[in-house]
Point group: C2
DNA sequence: CATGAGAGCTTGCATTTTGCAAGTGAAAAC
DNA sequence: GTTTTCACTTGCAAAATGCAAGCTCTCATG
């Protein structure tokens, strides 16, 4: 089955990626799963930046369609679902890491995170592995 | 002088970055400068994806305010301006590279770029250096 | 020095996306 | 069996985007 292509798709790899997460919220949802270990709708909704509920629902559906996110019924709780990252989603770890390092270098207000970012920089491979495994928080 | 903070800024480095380029077009403009060597408004307007002129003007202003892009009068042509990337802008090279590699791994339609992406992967440091120097195209 | 053709925007307006608040349905908890 | 809780959906106002047209300033040409 062929994925529907956006009108912006030029064949450029950067454009393909922006087609999937080139908006205000998608990468933050992915970050909440990869870094904070968020697994339910409620946890994602309570993220640091305050996404609104309709946007979260829409983004989760789009990310699921794009093969980034999985959704499954929680076997222990019939009214809850468990969201997770696919391999494709976990593979975004290096992107998140480079973005965070860039911000650390250039955001003058980022001093609170300096220690954290220094650790990432000192052990990028390990950080990436732990992020993929969902062991960061 | 203090930069104005968006209402989304949570202190997270990823959120800081998305505040600057978390939209459909900003990263494509940066890519056109970093990878294609675009230097004028007209060259940027003629990019692969077809940005509209009012959006391009607005993004260039925002990116300039964010310290990513510089704008100077063209000394050789009074009716033209020369745009360029600051150090902060060139530092986005690793982000662009990771995004491109991710797309190469996961976009089934990316076969046309495979050779190019393989070369990036084989010599990431060199690619990054050439991108920073504006020597990629 | 008038004329015309770029280059680099700005403006107006229709369409789309977003944000906020309130509401819904089904499953737990009490 | 009534009330909470979870995961959404819906309605509507506000903001962002896309498209086309226009505007200004500069340079080249006759």
């Amino acid at each position: 089955m062929t994925q529907s292509r956006s009108k912006y798709d030029s064949g450029c790899p950067v454009a393909y990626a922006l087609d999937i997460f080139g908006d205000r919220w998608s990468l933050l949802v992915i970050r909440d799963m990869a870094v904070k270990g968020a697994r339910t709708y409620g946890e994602l909704l309570a993220g640091w930046e305050g996404i609104s509920t309709n946007i979260l629902a829409q983004r989760l559906k789009q990310l699921e369609e794009a093969g980034i996110v999985t959704k499954a019924k929680d076997p222990d709780n019939g009214r809850s679902y468990v969201y997770g990252l696919t391999e494709k989603g976990r593979d975004l770890a290096p992107v998140l890491i480079e973005i965070a390092l860039w911000s650390g270098r250039h955001n003058p207000a980022a001093h609170a995170m300096t220690g954290f970012l220094d650790k990432i920089e000192a052990d990028r491979t390990g950080t990436e592995a732990r992020m993929r495994a969902g062991e960061l928080p």
